[in-house]
């Protein structure tokens, strides 16, 4: 039995051109819509895999009312319960968020729902602070593994793997533990129709923040200069075909 808590954040989709809000404090999601980061999608997938035997996988977010969309999306792909700390996320820095998560973990524990494994994304797609996982582990006094791609649990031990500077790394830590996930190790699944319908019916635990936030202390976000175009013209007309075939083979999408 492993009880998993997976933490996600509603962020603007940044797979297209990033647009900043006028005050430079956040990314504007008006055009591209909102999502959770690819790291968190992988964390949700791992949560679903680890608990596929029928264990509890609770998804948690701290966000405004609209963030319920990300909770439902996670419920549709395998999470079984959801907790929503309703708050304006712009007012919360990484220390504030870590503290709020810790409060939820302790409260749930007091209710008899101990989250043995807490999963987070490596970093949020909008603010990129890279801190919440470590701060949370410190708050909870748990071991933490950062930036791994896969996680399995057996006999009270978490096995997490990822790539390090010296090659492939494998960590084994005892539960309870905190792990932050880097995308690339698992393929997040799409929701099914029955999954989506079931997600709609799961009651969501709504909470208010436990404490006043100290704030992100962010001055402002700046956009990097536009990346130089890396378009390479392979040729025109039928003569270009062999070059295209080479590229496709290199990408490994062509079977011969």
């Amino acid at each position: 039995m492993t009880n998993v808590l997976v933490c996600v954040k509603r962020v603007p989709d940044s797979s297209s051109e990033v647009v900043l809000t006028d005050d430079g404090q956040s990314v504007d999601g008006r055009y591209a819509g909102f999502t959770m980061s690819a790291h968190e999608e992988c964390a949700v997938e791992i949560a679903a895999q680890v608990t596929s035997g029928g264990d509890e996988a609770t998804v948690l977010t701290l966000g405004d009312a609209d963030a319920v969309e990300q909770l439902r999306a996670s419920l549709a792909v395998g999470c079984t319960a959801a907790t929503h700390v309703v708050a304006d996320p712009q007012r919360f820095g990484p220390a504030d968020v870590a503290r709020e998560i810790a409060v939820v973990v302790r409260d749930h524990e007091a209710q008899g729902r101990s989250h043995d494994l807490v999963l987070l994304g490596n970093d949020a797609a909008d603010s990129g602070d890279f801190q919440v996982g470590i701060r949370l582990a410190y708050e909870l006094g748990r071991p933490v593994v950062n930036g791994v791609n896969t996680v399995t649990v057996a006999d009270g031990v978490v096995t997490a793997t990822g790539s390090g500077p010296d090659g492939h790394e494998t960590y084994r830590v005892p539960l309870p533990a905190v792990v932050t996930i880097l995308e690339g190790g698992v393929q997040p699944r799409y929701p099914t129709v029955p999954g989506r319908m079931k997600a709609k019916k799961v009651p969501i635990e709504e909470r208010t923040p436990a404490a006043e936030p100290t704030g992100p202390k962010r001055v402002r976000l700046l956009l990097p200069p536009p990346a130089p175009s890396n378009v390479e013209i392979l040729g025109t007309g039928p003569e270009a075909a062999p070059a295209v075939v080479d590229v496709l083979e290199k990408l490994g999408v062509l079977a011969r």
Binding site: D13, S15, S16, E17, V19, R30, Y31, A32, G33, F34, E69, R72, A73, R189, Y190, P191, T192, V193, P194, R196, M197, K200
Partner: protein
């Protein structure tokens, strides 16, 4: 990569299905030096074509839309991009079943094979459907899907191959330059783009959801709104994956949940029109760089879709819940909606600046052909007057109007719409001076061109007892919806005494100047070189001899003509006259057209007592000798100056009284007061537009008359044709020499009793068949359908008008009308413009 040329014969903005089809047809019709630009890349520049569902159900209640669709299907088939799948429209309720029966009427009228089938029939072709979810279906075997991107590429390449076309993608329009001509009319001169400027005298805006933004650059309104249509794709579904090709199961439209299910290879696409109307402004559509997918594939809002997901799942649980079937694609796709649901086509008020927008995949190639023909010949083969951009009145050009109307209409996309149904939003835009008085009289208002028009008056309800069964009450709710027997009571009272009718919605414009006579002569079929004070009723034709309009003209002076036409089509008529204006003959000065609609109100006074009433209010001579039929002149009515015109659209003695707007209310009260003692009552448009005219066999533009009908077919030819030239004269002379391919006839219904014993009354659009229910076909290959239907209370009959094959057009011929899939016997009563009531027009004298 092509660069932007500095000049062009024509610039087409947009490379979606419409722009591509347009350049193809322009090149085919001989245009050269065409430049097509788009801000996106090819072949999918990112507009609505790129994410379209690409399926086509041919049957629509509108003939115009059906014709454009059928022409489009033919073109898609010729290009080899059409795959026939068949399609079902499901009914979950008895009300929907009745609507599907009505749909059968349209299918038969337009000659499209369709059948009503039971759930088992559907199950046989769609094995994964749950038959307990619905009670029946409408089966159209000719439904299919197209590859609209491929079609666009083929058509663009056809045009390129002729050497007529230069295509420049990735170039954005930044401005449209216009200049004023001597007569003060603007014309297009230049398109400014990010790739350089193009001098051009002809420009077409065919950029779908972005069109309003581009139109604004030239100061014209293209009143459409980008609106969200949600769709998801679920797969791979094993039941679908086993099949070869893109589509092997019929498309299912689940009409009562406003959803459809359309196979796409191994995936099932579920689309919805059930969610709240989600509208965007064209300026808020993301750029190609900002968009996650394409600019018109907006982020999916799953909350809006969840209820439909559940309904779709109930209908196809095994398929949508299959192991491994996931929702892999979900978008809020943008498409274009307009205030009346029709496209926006034709030349704008800026000369040379055309539009072809708010067009869906099913009409794309047909619209491309029609607009190209219009640009080339001045008229398209398929009548598209209901889509003409010049139809919009000022209040309809507001974005607010489009927003409110499309919000109201969105949920009706798959709705059951009564033919007389009125919009609720953005009403009260134009109120006649009599409006307050009419409200007190309990007027039931319909809307025409923004005007609130009384359709009948509750104050006349007491007449129901007076006339009893002669008011022809209707038992069936559908037949009597948006109708009242009071209309027929008002009718009978008008024929017995008199009626006073508010006609403020008339469009009125004065043509003045040295070229005025020539301008109206070249526009109108009837002789307009008549004595001052004469009133002329005239058809207006296009060059092919099809109807553009029918209207009246008064000669108010040697160089002054007043044109009076219906509100609904008035703006298009105004543009048509403007286009014919002789601007400055021999340097004698300008000829102008002045819109007087908002300055002049019109009140009709008709009935056997009309002369008595008017005579009691004026010292002027209103006797037949002193004020003959088809004449007009100014008189004083109790001190109010009135231009009185002796004419009638209801077949009674009487006048149209043109009065300054600020004195109209006074005249209205005066007439009602003076008429009261002799039995006159206020009478609504229900009489004026239907019962009064149909007893007299008077034709109405948009019903009996349109661009595909001729004067000869409509039975309106006069013994002589004037010598002076006019638009359509050559064609009209030719038509007079040929035997007509169809003949407009008036019929009466002999027995209204349905199988259930309830008496039914047709409302228009129903097919006319033989007594045995066999199909009839006219010389055009068309099948007869009811163009107008209405009570003829003075005859005690329900009257239908329809174009019949010439060999069926004999008085006394016994035929049948199909209504809700039952046959009712009818008999032909008139085979020309002769009225069934008072055929020698004694009452008008």
């Amino acid at each position: 990569m092509a660069t932007v040329p500095s000049t062009a014969r024509a610039v087409v903005i947009g490379a979606g299905i419409v722009g591509n089809s347009l350049v193809h047809h322009l090149a085919r019709l001989g245009w050269r030096d065409i430049v097509q630009i788009d801000k996106g890349p090819l072949p999918n520049p990112g507009g609505s074509t790129g994410h379209a569902s690409n399926f086509i159900f041919p049957v629509d209640h509108s003939r115009e839309i059906t014709d454009l669709t059928l022409d489009s299907v033919r073109q898609y088939q010729e290009m080899g991009v059409f795959t026939q799948s068949g399609g079902f429209e499901l009914a979950r309720t008895p009300e929907r079943m009745e609507e599907l029966r009505r749909r059968m009427s349209s299918a038969k009228a337009w000659g499209i094979e369709a059948h009503l089938v039971d759930p088992d029939f559907v199950k046989e072709k769609v094995p994964f459907i749950e038959t307990d979810q619905f009670i029946g279906a409408f089966w159209t075997p000719s439904v299919g899907v197209v590859d609209s991107l491929r079609a666009g590429t083929i058509m663009r390449e056809n045009a390129l191959a002729t050497g007529a076309l230069t295509v420049v993608p990735n170039v954005e329009v930044t401005g449209l330059d216009t200049e004023e001509d001597a007569a003060g009319r603007r014309r297009i001169t230049r398109v400014r783009t990010t790739g350089g400027d193009i001098e051009a005298e002809t420009v077409v805006i065919a950029c779908g959801v972005w069109s309003p933004k581009i139109g604004d650059m030239a100061g014209i309104s293209i009143p459409l709104t980008p609106a969200v249509h949600q769709m998801i794709s679920v797969g791979p579904c094993p039941q679908l994956a086993e099949q070869e090709g893109e589509i092997s199961f019929p498309i299912v439209r689940d009409m009562d949940t406003f959803c459809y299910e359309r196979q796409h290879g191994a995936d099932m696409e579920v689309g919805s029109y059930a969610h709240r109307a989600i509208l965007h402004e064209p300026e808020d559509i993301p750029s190609i760089e900002q968009a996650k997918l394409s600019p018109t594939e907006m982020p999916f809002t799953s909350d809006d879709f969840d209820p439909q997901l559940e309904q779709a799942y109930e209908l196809m649980p095994e398929l949508l819940g299959a192991e491994g079937a996931e929702m892999r694609y979900a978008i809020n796709g943008l498409l274009s909606l307009t205030c009346d649901g029709n496209p926006i086509l034709g030349e704008s008020e800026v000369r040379g600046l055309w539009t072809a927008a708010a067009v869906w995949i099913k009409e794309g190639p047909g619209v491309g052909r029609a607009v190209a023909e219009w640009m080339t010949n001045g008229h398209p083969e398929i009548d598209v007057n209901a889509s003409d951009i010049s139809r919009f009145h000022q209040h309809q050009k507001r974005r607010e109007h489009t927003r409110l109307r499309t919000t109201e209409a969105f949920i009706k996309t798959y709705g059951i719409i009564h033919p007389s149904e009125q919009y609720e939003s953005d009403r009260g835009q134009r109120l006649s001076p009599m409006h307050e008085s009419q409200k007190k009289l309990g007027a039931f208002f319909y809307e025409t061109a923004g005007w609130e028009r009384p359709h009948w008056y509750e104050s006349n309800a007491h007449l129901l007892d007076v006339y009893g069964d002669a008011v022809m009450p209707r038992e069936h709710e559908w037949d009597s919806r948006w109708w009242s027997p009071i209309i027929n009571a008002e009718h009978l009272r008008m024929r017995e005494a008199a009626g006073v009718i508010d006609l403020s919605a008339f469009c009125i414009f004065d043509i003045e100047g040295p070229g005025a006579l020539e301008s109206v002569q070249r526009t109108c079929v009837a002789q307009c070189d008549v004595a001052v004070g004469k009133v002329i009723y005239t058809p207006v034709l296009d060059a092919a001899g099809g109807f553009r309009s029918d209207l009246t003209v008064m000669r108010l002076g040697d160089d002054v003509f007043r044109v009076v036409t219906g509100g609904a089509h008035g703006m298009a008529d105004r543009k048509w006259f403007e286009d014919q204006l002789v601007s400055d003959p021999d340097g004698a000065g300008a000829t102008t057209l002045t819109d007087r609609t908002d300055a002049v109100s019109t009140i009709g006074l008709w009935g056997p007592r009309a002369r008595d009433i008017l005579a009691s209010l004026t010292g002027d001579d209103v006797s037949d000798e002193g004020f003959g039929f088809l004449t007009c002149r100014e008189i004083q009515v109790k001190g109010v100056p009135v231009l009185a015109s002796r004419i009638s659209y209801v077949g009674e003695l009487g006048w149209e009284l043109y009065v300054p707007m600020d004195q109209a209310a006074e005249l209205w009260e005066t007439l009602l007061e003076a008429g009261g003692p002799v039995g006159a009552v206020p009478v609504g448009i229900g009489v004026y537009g239907t019962t009064g005219r149909i007893e007299k066999g008077y034709r109405a533009y948009g019903y009996e008359l349109d661009g595909e009908r001729s004067i000869v077919e409509a039975g309106m030819q006069r013994p002589k044709v004037k010598v002076a030239d006019f638009v359509g004269r050559e064609a009209y002379l030719r038509q007079r020499d040929e035997a007509p391919a169809a003949v407009l006839c008036t019929m009466t219904v002999d027995d209204h009793t349905s199988a259930s014993g309830v008496k039914r009354y047709m409302l228009g659009g129903e097919p006319i068949l033989t007594r045995d229910g066999e199909t009839l076909t006219d010389g055009h290959g068309h099948h007869p359908y009811v163009t107008s239907a209405g009570s003829a209370p003075s005859l005690g009959k329900h009257v239908l008008m329809a174009y019949l094959p010439p060999d069926q057009a004999t008085v006394g011929n016994r035929l049948a009308v199909s209504y809700m899939e039952e046959l009712y016997p009818v008999t032909v009563g008139s085979v020309d413009a002769t009225g069934l009531l008072d055929p020698t027009n004694e009452r008008i004298r």
